[in-house]
């Protein structure tokens, strides 16, 4: 991954995470705000219920007091206070009065707590309403001060929870109790006006076990009431307000959040539970909208982040990239490379340092080239002087012998002349050979490629030198061939390779004046072939190894210094590589690596140099 890619992705991830965090934050905050709003509506509905509850209670108390104040009731009280009172004549009165005063519950109760007439349970006449009597006996209750209250009461249809008020009509020492009220049920819920998406449910705690039919809304028992069973049981156990959620289907829009309000009777017994339900539909829709918007913002943010990241990464990495390209160009030999980076930051300083460095490198390389050129010329001059000095000395001596013989022994001059001209010709021939050798090196031919089996060349060269390995008068040299029979055929100039390998074998033989082992090994790797020529000679010093391929440099007394230079030239022309490993006293190993096919033809013109 490039530096630009890394910077790009770092920028992108940072920006995307930032946008995502902001979107998530907005979603959470919006959800919280919606929940708060929902709780606010729930509180409002609970407050509305409590207000309605109080208002109804006051209204009931007013109506019950109205019944108590009515002339018929007073007459009833007076009649029932008589010693021979006949309560049977009033047995049906409660029903009519209840209808007149729009009460669900109405009981006329005698001083001893006996029900004289009951609207909600006509057949209960004659039975006792215990709680009235007990309270009445324990203490004269001020029922007006007591106010309306919730209680469980039996009716013809079964027990109900009612909001009751009690009034008394006192005649002498006897009371007539008027107990009136309204059922707490769906009619009561119908009087509430919940906001859109909310509803009020009422559970009447009339049975020890959860009864689905006792959970009603304004239209009656609700469907799937059993879903509330566990929450109702919990409410009955703890009798505290709680909030819970019911998922009616897998669709979250159908979910409802319920808030409970326990309803207690006079003895703090739990008589009912108001459940304020809030549909999650609008909230879910709103949340989804927010999520969609957040997602859109994230997507747009990602797009912007990508663009910004791309731009930022490009801006940041462009100087670095230029520096990298410059370094690559320098590494490829283009030492004149300059990096155009503006700005005063670290990257600008780095670019300027780079430019300065390349300038210095070019300068130093030129100086080095010049120095090497001078050194090479000196070496050439030295070698030429050395090579030419050897034949020149016999030539000078022979010419001086001829002159001396002419002057001092004219009679022998012819013989001397004959011998001397022979020597002169021989030495001149030597000079010609030396010149030819230098000429040959200068005129190394272009390789003519063809299919070549390196193993065959190695075998041919070894066979060529077999006689010399075991020549009389010199210590024997043992050749060892480790040839890879699976060596691939390569495209190369067989003649040039033969010449290069000859030079390597000659060098190795020269390095083993005391005899030894000459090992030639071939191998292949990744399409290229490798030749290793090792000897067990005296080895080279590091200084000698460093100058080994310098033309005309030799460690031998009679060498031209062109052998390894020719090897390097041949190998280089084939796109290969040559290296030397040597250790003093152990031996030297030359490795030649050749590609299966030269990458390109070497430049022409060598012949002319």
């Amino acid at each position: 991954m490039t530096f630009r890619s890394k910077v790009f992705w770092i920028f992108t991830i940072a920006l995307v995470l930032s946008v995502a965090l902001i979107a998530t934050g907005v979603t959470i905050v919006a959800g919280k705000a919606l929940d708060d709003s929902n709780a606010h509506y729930t509180d409002a509905l609970v407050a509305q219920f409590e207000r309605e509850f109080a208002r109804r209670g006051q209204d009931i108390a007013r109506r019950v007091q109205g019944i108590a104040n009515a002339e018929g009731t007073v007459r009833m009280a007076i009649d029932l206070a008589r010693p021979s009172a006949d309560p049977s004549v009033y047995v049906d009165d409660a029903r009519g009065v209840a209808l007149s005063y729009h009460l669900d519950i109405l009981d006329f109760v005698g001083n001893d707590g006996t029900i004289i007439s009951s609207a909600e349970y006509r057949a209960r006449f004659g039975y006792k309403m215990e709680w009235i009597r007990k309270l009445g006996q324990a203490k004269e209750i001020d029922w007006v001060a007591q106010g309306p209250f919730l209680t469980r009461i039996d009716t013809q249809a079964g027990p109900v929870v009612s909001l009751l008020a009690v009034s008394t009509v006192r005649v002498g020492d006897k009371n007539l109790y008027i107990v009136g009220g309204e059922r707490l049920g769906r009619e009561f819920l119908a009087s509430l006006v919940p906001p859109e998406g909310m509803r009020a449910l009422l559970y009447l705690n009339l049975d020890q076990n959860f009864q689905p039919a006792d959970l009603v809304d304004e239209s009656g028992p609700i469907d799937r009431a059993e879903r509330f069973a566990s929450f109702v049981r919990q409410e009955r156990s703890h009798a505290v307000e709680q909030t819970f959620k019911i998922d009616w289907t897998s669709d979250p829009k159908t979910a409802e959040v319920f808030h409970t309000l326990p309803l207690f009777g006079r003895q703090s017994e739990l008589l009912g539970i108001l459940l304020v339900g809030s549909s999650q539909r609008e909230i879910v829709i709103l949340e989804r909208r927010i999520e969609v918007l957040a997602l859109a913002a994230v997507m747009v943010g990602i797009g912007i982040a990508l663009l910004l990241s791309w731009w930022g990464a490009a801006r940041v990495t462009r100087p670095i990239q230029k520096l990298a390209e410059g370094a690559r160009a320098v590494s490829e030999g283009n030492w004149n490379t300059r990096v155009d980076v503006r700005g005063g930051g670290e990257v600008g300083q780095l670019a300027r340092a780079f430019n300065q460095m390349t300038e210095q490198l070019v300068d130093q390389r030129e100086r080095l080239v010049q120095a090497e050129r001078v050194a090479a010329w000196r070496e050439v001059a030295r070698r030429l002087a050395h090579e030419l000095k050897n034949p020149l000395f016999p030539l000078q001596t022979t010419v001086e012998n001829l002159r001396r013989a002419r002057q001092q022994n004219p009679e022998q001059f012819d013989e001397v002349f004959r011998e001397s001209t022979g020597i002169l010709l021989s030495e001149i021939e030597n000079l010609k050979v030396i010149v030819a050798r230098f000429s040959d090196f200068a005129k190394m031919p272009q390789p003519e490629l063809g299919s070549v089996n390196l193993n065959e060349i190695v075998r041919t060269v070894v066979k060529l030198f077999e006689a010399q390995f075991g020549a009389v008068g010199r210590p024997p040299i043992t050749p060892e061939l480790h040839l890879d029979e699976n060596l691939p055929v390569i495209q190369a100039d067989q003649t040039l390779l033969h010449r290069a390998i000859e030079n390597l074998v000659l060098n190795a033989m020269d390095a083993m004046p005391a005899g030894g082992v000459l090992m030639l090994r071939t191998s292949h790797h990744n399409g290229s072939v490798k030749l290793e020529v090792s000897d067990t000679g005296t080895g080279l010093t590091p200084e000698e190894s460093g100058r080994l391929f310098t033309p005309y440099h030799t460690t031998k007394q009679h060498g031209t210094g062109l052998g390894l230079a020719i090897v390097q030239s041949v190998v280089s022309d084939h796109g290969g590589r040559v290296s030397v490993e040597s250790e003093t006293g152990v031996g030297t190993s030359v490795q030649v690596e050749l590609p299966a096919r030269p990458p390109h033809q070497p430049p022409a013109g060598r012949d002319g140099e």
């Binding site: 049977s88 004549v89 349970y121 006509r122 209960r124 039975y127 013809q156």
Partner: protein, 391 residues
């Protein structure tokens, strides 16, 4: 001929009725002919043809009353060809009938020219029409008698000649469990039912026959024993919840059923009162509140008719028929055998109660098995009847 005028709340004894009738005779006005007597009934009579089955007992009773006005019934075997004091002049099935006086009636022309019978009138409407003078004669619920009298309506009552009883349904759990039946019977507070629901216009019934007929009614206890009922019920393993049925068109039966259910619940018996509006509901009730009208003042035929009815209603074994000459001991023993079997639990005897308009004269409440004495009634348009010793 007995004549009862009642505006009192208490039941009127036979002796009192005779006293009232005797006291009224000297000041009575002379009968006069003419006028149309308006009678209102609750039933809707759809046909006077005896071969067409009646919809319910109420319709059957009303149809029989109309039949008795049109035809003479010299024997109990049924209709004969002899025309009655009236003839059918107009007939609107289920709504209205006009009976014109039969000028050729061998027993003498009725005093009124015609009787207009308004059918399917509710008890409330009948009472209102009586108060407003739109109706001359109407049968009113016994429980409304006292209130009607307080509103100024003239009330006439028969002897308590209709038995209201709880009959256990054959095939249901109580029918096969005497302890269950006994617990229910012991829980019933008959006095309160009579005093409150019947507004004291009736008598608690321990036996099948009323005291005024058999003279042995006092031998059948009527007092409740809720403690014993509770104990008996507690001895029943897996005691069921009982349903007590009543005729949805009979408010009195409904009120009594509800009260019995309350009494039963007070004794720990799980019981609900339930209207038997359809056959499905009918099949689920364990007992029913039934009305058993007496067909005769004489105890032996009255008991026989009760047993026949109970056999039809509850499959009760009527036992051997008593001879016409049966002595009270025999009648009591047969009655006692039935009552102690607890398949039927007598609750109360109730009278038939009629409201009379102010111009109606010489009305006599019909006795058991008798028709309305409308042929003897005349209309006095001269003004209200002078006060009697009893009003």
């Amino acid at each position: 001929m007995k004549r009862t005028w009642s505006r009192r709340t208490a039941a009127i004894s036979g002796a009192t009725i005779l006293l009232i009738a005797g006291a009224a005779a000297p000041g009575a006005r002379r009968p006069r002919y003419g006028g149309t007597l308006v009678v209102e009934i609750g039933a809707a009579v759809n046909s006077t043809d005896a071969t067409v089955p009646s919809g319910d007992a109420q319709e059957a009773s009303a149809r029989e009353q109309i039949d008795r006005l049109i035809f003479d019934h010299p024997s109990a075997e049924g209709r004969v060809a002899s025309p009655g004091p009236f003839r059918m002049a107009e007939w609107e099935p289920g709504k209205r009938a006009v009976l014109a006086a039969n000028e050729q009636y061998p027993g003498g022309r009725p005093f009124v020219d015609a009787i207009e019978i308004q059918m399917a009138r509710t008890a409330k409407d009948r009472l209102i029409d009586l108060e407003l003078g739109r109706a001359d004669v109407a049968e009113i619920p016994v429980a409304e008698a006292r209130r009607a009298a307080e509103q100024g309506v003239r009330v006439s009552q028969s002897q308590p000649d209709e038995l209201i009883a709880l009959v256990f349904v054959d095939g249901r759990p109580p029918a096969a469990n005497r302890r269950m039946r006994e617990a229910v019977a012991d829980s019933i507070d008959r006095d309160t039912i009579v005093n409150f629901i019947l507004q004291k216009e009736g008598e608690p019934a321990g036996g099948l026959l009323p005291g005024w007929s058999s003279g042995t009614a006092f031998l059948f206890p009527t007092a409740p024993d809720p403690a014993r009922a509770k104990e008996l019920w507690s001895q029943i393993p897996h005691s069921p919840s009982l349903a007590l049925g009543y005729d949805s068109d009979d408010p009195l039966a409904e009120a009594i059923a509800e009260r019995i259910a309350v009494n039963a619940r007070d004794a720990g018996i799980s019981m609900t009162a339930q209207s038997t509006r359809n056959a499905q509901t009918e099949g689920r009730v364990d007992g029913r509140i039934v009305r058993l009208p007496m067909t005769s003042s004489a105890p032996q035929p009255a008991l026989a008719s009760f047993l026949a009815l109970l056999h039809r209603i509850a499959g009760l074994d009527p036992g051997g028929a008593l001879p016409d000459s049966a002595v009270p001991q025999q009648i009591y023993e047969q009655e006692s055998a039935v009552v102690h079997g607890l398949a039927v639990v007598p609750i109360a005897w109730v009278p038939h109660t009629f409201g009379l308009g102010p111009r109606v004269r010489d009305w006599t409440a019909p006795g058991p098995g008798q028709g309305w004495p409308l042929a003897d009634v005349w209309l006095d348009d001269t003004g209200p009847e002078p006060p009697k010793g009893s009003s």
